[in-house]
């Protein structure tokens, strides 16, 4: 019995949706910049699960979903690299990575 028969698509999509919401929740409530970046990673991986699931269940002999997921993985890595570099830059000037402490700009 293949995986497709054992696990319906909707389950996978639900998993992805839950993951996305957890990530979004993390983004909203975490005060640490690193924590926020973690949350974003969760959201992006939820998207990847979505894409792979759609590809595998609906059009396994085409490549678009797979390729899209690969692009997302690559670009997420780039984003994380820039993000962490900026966390370091902020840490060097402010000695903190807690978002609430960034009060240099009024508003």
């Amino acid at each position: 019995m293949s995986m497709i028969d054992a696990v319906p698509l909707s389950w996978v999509l639900t998993l992805a949706a839950i993951l996305f919401c957890i990530g979004l929740f993390g983004v909203i409530v975490r005060r640490s910049l690193i924590g926020v970046l973690f949350g974003v990673e969760l959201m992006l991986n939820a998207v990847n699960i979505n894409l792979i699931a759609f590809w595998r269940y609906l059009e396994p002999n085409l490549v678009a979903g797979q390729v899209f997921a690969l692009f997302i993985i690559t670009i997420a890595a780039a984003e994380a690299a820039v993000g962490l570099a900026m966390v370091i830059a902020v840490y060097r000037t402010r000695r903190t990575i807690v978002a609430d402490d960034m009060r240099n700009l009024q508003g």
């Binding site: 970046l37 998207v47 759609f54 590809w55 678009a64 960034m102």
Partner: protein, 539 residues
């Protein structure tokens, strides 16, 4: 998807941008690297000049390629120049019907307009930045600027989800770094960080929407026979949306909503705007000018592509004929942006924050201009032309206003409103440029901002959103109140003992040209309007 040799002329400006970016970065190695200020200035100037010249060249190529400067006659008798001419002919053949990259990249009139606007904005920013260089490695600054422009140009032409996403990220990542470029200043680092956080979250939201859109398309798929379809292309999505059943329509609407939310951050539409005031204030003013002018324009073009190419069937309406589809979503965004953006600008005391909120409220007008794009042909085309017109004017206006602020900052003027006191006497040119730019933003005739707003109003009114037009007009009155807060110190307060402000010649000429353009486009809107119409019709 395959890269064909015939794609080269169609992608020429983008390819040139990529090459120029590498060239600027590479040529920096040949400069003298030393820690003394003279060497650093030398490096910076070299990079700025190379970028400026290169961007000017690319802009001209785009102009020629779009057939806007002059059209090369079809092949005639063979002459000594024929080889050159046929090269030019091939260049101008860029707009073939399928578009480049098997239709994943549109090369129509809108793309040409987008390239002209975005590359032009980058050119102006490069000219402005040349005079007050970033303190870190200057070549990297210009490389990032070029890469961001490249991403924006591709974004504006995307006809496929993956390309749209990669282009968006290409511009976004470069802009994150640019926003935090002067990393030694805490404000800049913070600005970059905030921009990055909002950006990555928004792109995650956008991607979730994209994945749903792909899923709907893939589930309808049914590629029996025929060539395999690319289910991430906008054409495929549009076809799938057309035949979708009720449940799938629900998923489509969710996808559209998430995608609009994801791009809305680029435009700084309320409630996705809260990064904008901080970033505009914290980042260096040239970068702020680029963000306010180019980044927003590119976002609008992406929305135009996504909404009109992929989701024309769920356009809906936002007026007397019902309140459905993405038109309703945009109407809500426009409403909240216009009202909150303008109200939040009222109490601001920092010039750049105030202009940031004004820029936010302008995004509301852009959303208003996007509304009618789901309509029927003649109305839609007029509305698209109005949108293009508005984009051109808003771009020039933000470049002029933020450019003037950049020149002020370079001259050591602090960024609160009272620091502008007596600018009329301290530097008449900057006072005039700032006044014209702001009066144009306020929509005072006969400046370009008025004609642009007017065209947008007519389009939205005809689309049935008269109620929103009335609200937008009311908010322009609020806007005038805070614009006056900027103009009042400039014109009506004495300079007292504040020093005069000197401006570098290149900056002065650039800003004066921008201000003149605002006047010219306001007094004679005809030519640009025809250009916009031609761009819309040259699909």
């Amino acid at each position: 998807m395959m890269f064909q040799i015939s794609d080269v002329p169609r992608l020429l400006p983008e390819l040139m941008l990529a090459v120029l970016a590498l060239l600027v970065l590479g040529s920096d190695v040949l400069e003298r690297w030393a820690d003394d200020p003279a060497a650093r200035r030398e490096r910076g100037r070299a990079a700025a000049q190379l970028t400026g010249i290169g961007l000017g060249l690319i802009w001209l190529v785009t102009l020629v390629q779009g057939g806007l400067a002059f059209t090369i006659a079809p092949a005639g008798a063979a002459g000594p120049l024929d080889a050159l001419l046929s090269l030019g002919r091939n260049l101008q053949a860029g707009g073939a019907e399928r578009g480049a990259l098997l239709g994943a990249f549109a090369t129509d009139g809108i793309t040409v307009m987008a390239r002209l606007l975005l590359i032009g904005a980058a050119l102006v920013v490069a000219l402005l930045a040349g005079d007050h260089l970033p303190d870190a490695h200057p070549a990297e600054f210009f490389t990032l600027l070029l890469l961001a422009t490249l991403g924006m140009c591709v974004m504006a032409a995307a006809q496929e989800l993956i390309i749209a996403f990669v282009a968006l990220e290409c511009s976004s990542i470069a802009l994150y770094v640019l926003a935090g470029y002067s990393a030694r200043q805490p404000a800049a680092a913070e600005a970059g960080m905030k921009y990055l956080l909002f950006g990555v979250v928004s792109s995650a939201v956008l991607l979730y929407g994209m994945s749903l859109a792909y899923g709907v398309t893939a589930s309808i798929g049914g590629a029996d026979g025929g060539p395999p379809r690319v289910n991430t292309s906008f054409a495929a999505i549009a076809e799938a949306v057309r035949v979708a059943d009720v449940a799938q329509r629900g998923a489509v609407m969710l996808a559209v909503t998430l995608m609009i939310a994801g791009v809305a951050y680029k435009l700084a539409l309320v409630p996705f705007h809260s990064w904008a005031p901080d970033v505009y204030q914290g980042a260096s003013p040239t970068v702020a000018a680029f963000l306010a002018a180019a980044s927003k324009t590119a976002g609008v073009f992406l929305l135009v592509r996504v909404l009109t190419a992929a989701f024309p069937d769920v356009a809906g309406a936002a007026g007397a004929n019902g309140f459905t589809g993405w038109a309703a979503l945009l109407a809500l965004l426009a409403l909240s942006t216009l009202v909150l953006g303008n109200l939040a600008a009222l109490p601001q005391d920092v010039t750049r924050r105030l202009l940031a909120y004004s820029s936010i409220s302008h995004a509301g007008f852009l959303a208003l201009a996007l509304l009618p794009l789901g309509g029927a042909a003649p109305l839609r085309d007029a509305a698209s032309a109005a949108l293009l017109y508005y984009l051109v004017v808003a771009l020039i206006g933000s470049l002029a206003a933020f450019g003037a602020l950049a020149a002020l900052q370079a001259a050591g003027v602090a960024d609160r409103l009272e620091d502008l006191a007596g600018l009329r006497q301290r530097n008449p040119l900057l006072a005039a440029v700032l006044t014209i730019a702001i009066a144009s933003m306020a929509g005072l005739p006969p400046l370009a901002g008025f004609t642009a707003k007017f065209a947008v109003f007519v389009g939205a009114w005809e689309a049935g959103a008269a109620w929103l037009v009335v609200i937008a007009l009311v908010t322009t009155v609020i806007a005038l109140a805070y614009y006056l807060r900027v103009l009042r110190p400039i014109w009506m307060q004495p300079a007292d003992d504040r020093p005069t402000v000197s401006v570098a010649p290149v900056t002065a000429v650039t800003l004066a040209l921008a201000a003149l353009a605002l006047i010219a486009l306001g007094v004679l809107p005809g030519p640009l309007w025809q250009l916009a119409q031609a761009a819309v019709l040259a699909r």
